[in-house]
């Protein structure tokens, strides 16, 4: 069974076994506006929780994406090279950014669940 967790930096990670799929939340894509380019991490790279792992560039600004978990990058979503707008249309599905092998499943405990994140976003006004 898979679970999805959210960070305060507006990334989500969907965990299935030992692999996490990471993207940005629907709220984040809405805030960024039309996304025109995404700088994705390379497969094989090792990242720490909180490290800058990707850059999402919209017509307004280029924003860093911080990895919500530590681990090794398994795959980046190659579809985004040609169609970065997938992040706008399907941020929490087909617009995922990368897959990662979790180094420490315990890190997930520090993240929010869907309800908690909804409340967090509500609080941002």
């Amino acid at each position: 069974m898979s679970t999805t967790k959210y960070s305060e930096e507006h990334e989500w990670v969907e965990v299935d076994g030992n692999t996490g799929t990471v993207g940005i939340s629907n709220y984040a894509q809405d805030q960024l506006g039309d996304i025109v380019f995404i700088e994705l991490p390379e497969a094989g790279a090792t990242v720490e929780k909180g490290a800058e792992v990707a850059v999402v560039e919209s017509v307004k600004a280029a924003s860093e994406i911080y990895s919500p978990v530590s681990g090794d990058i398994v795959e980046a979503n190659a579809a985004l090279n040609e169609t970065p707008e997938l992040v706008n249309s399907d941020a929490e599905g087909g617009g995922w950014l990368y897959k990662i092998t979790l180094a420490d499943a315990g890190e997930l405990d520090g993240l929010m669940d869907a309800d908690g994140y909804a409340e967090f976003v509500e609080g941002l006004g």
Partner: protein, 440 residues
């Protein structure tokens, strides 16, 4: 935003908030010895006629490049700029030659920038170019920092044959961003720790080289090759850096459209491969269509600039050398592609004549076999004193390499000389004659 002058109330309010008693308190970190006490020792006011006379006297102490035979280059080149360039850049449509933020009111300036970028990309043989930078040397520093961003490596290798002013500008500009920089010649084997190799062509001694093998070595190690060109006119005669495999090309563009200007303002050209466009510094102008489908121009790809990304911006440059780039574009348009090539050829031909005339002088040895419009000769004694003595014969005979490389005794007798289309055969004859007398 409203721009209003400050009154004492505003000033005291601001001082109060930052906890300072007076404006003078803000300057306390400046040592008293460096502070100006009282007024400068200058006459308070004079009539226009007196001022003209005084300044005329001052300016008569200078020796202008056009006053006699002139063979000085080394990064700043005297070319003929047609009077039409100066006339056109003063047209009111170009009055604010600055990077425009509002496309609604700036289509003319934006179109010029777009044409400028196209010209730069064409002559360098690259995919994309920006709307210009301050000068070749600062563009070189930006290129080095860009290579570090692209490769995520810290090791910067500069050729020892890069103009020392460019080397020093790189070292100064990039000193706080944790790079490992070195200047070496001959170049070491390119390896996978290097972000880039920076080479100049023609190099600071005037030598022209095929950089293709170096580009291949860089690319197989995942490093970028940055090519520096200090004489833009050379691009009309030499295979383009892009065709030789450059990843980033920076050029001093002063030679087209712009005078020597006492060393500035100059014009930095910056071009790169398209895949690196998002890491390019500076302004980029793009072509687009408006709501009615009509062609229009607009600044683009600015999401990584300083006003948006603050300290994470690709560069702290948010402007361009607007007026100099306008003059460049107009001059290059007047020349056209054929004219640019013919201009380059004229330069080379005059330099060949000069080289032949100088090496016929007893004691003068050729040092540069393959050159464009600038080359090095070896004299029988220190070049600096020879240059001073040539001046007594009314000839400005080039740049002694000891001025650029004071630490190198081995090139103390070497003289860097330049010929352009502004030189005549009479100039060449006068130079050779004077050199013969000085060395005899």
């Amino acid at each position: 935003m409203r721009y209003l002058p400050l009154g004492d109330v505003d000033r005291n309010d601001m001082l109060g908030r930052i906890g300072a008693d007076s404006v003078d308190d803000l300057f306390e970190v400046i040592p008293p010895s460096a502070r100006l006490e009282g007024l400068l020792d200058l006459p308070l006011a004079q009539g226009e006629i007196e001022v003209e006379r005084a300044l005329g006297k001052l300016s008569a102490k200078n020796r202008a490049a056009g006053d006699g035979p002139f063979f000085v280059g080394a990064g700043a080149y005297r070319h003929h700029v047609p009077a039409s360039v100066d006339h056109l850049i003063q047209r009111s449509e170009f009055l604010t030659a600055y990077t425009p933020y509002q496309p609604e009111i700036s289509q003319g300036t934006l179109q010029v920038l777009f044409e400028f970028q196209t010209q730069v990309a064409l002559i360098t043989g690259m995919d994309v170019a920006n709307a210009s930078m301050y000068d070749g040397a600062t563009a070189c520093a930006e290129a080095v920092m860009m290579a570090a961003r692209v490769t995520r490596r810290k090791k910067i290798v500069m050729s020892g044959n890069l103009h020392p002013h460019y080397r020093d500008t790189v070292l100064t500009t990039a000193q706080f961003i944790d790079l490992e920089m070195s200047s070496v010649e001959p170049l070491p084997e390119v390896d996978e720790t290097m972000a880039c190799v920076v080479v100049q062509n023609p190099d600071v001694f005037g030598r022209v080289r095929d950089l293709t093998p170096l580009a291949e070595a860089c690319h197989s190690a995942g490093a970028l090759m940055i090519v520096v060109v200090t004489e833009v006119v050379s691009l009309g005669a030499i295979k383009s850096p892009g065709a030789m495999g450059a990843d980033i090309v920076v050029v001093e563009g002063q030679g087209i459209g712009n005078g020597l200007n006492y060393g500035g303002p100059y014009l930095g050209l910056f071009a790169a491969r398209e895949k690196y466009v998002r890491q390019m510094p500076g302004r980029l102008c793009g072509e687009t269509v408006d709501g009615d489908g009509r062609r229009g121009y607009v600044l683009t790809l600015s999401a990584r600039e300083q006003h948006i990304r603050r300290e994470k911006a690709t560069s702290n440059i948010c402007t361009n050398a607007g007026l100099c780039s306008l003059a460049f574009s107009i001059h290059l348009s007047l020349l056209g592609e054929d004219g640019f090539k013919r201009l380059a050829l004229l330069n080379h031909q005059m330099a060949v004549k000069l080289s032949n005339a100088l090496i016929a002088v007893p004691g003068v040895e050729e040092e540069t076999e393959t050159f464009f419009n600038e080359f090095t000769v070896r004299l029988p004694r220190p070049a600096a004193e020879v240059v001073d003595e040539l001046l007594e014969h009314d000839v400005l005979g080039g740049v002694p390499l000891s001025r650029l490389f004071p630490e190198r005794d081995d090139i103390e007798n070497h003289l860097l000389v330049t010929a352009t289309e502004t030189n005549t055969m009479d100039d060449v004859t006068a130079f050779a004659k004077a050199l013969r007398e000085v060395l005899s």
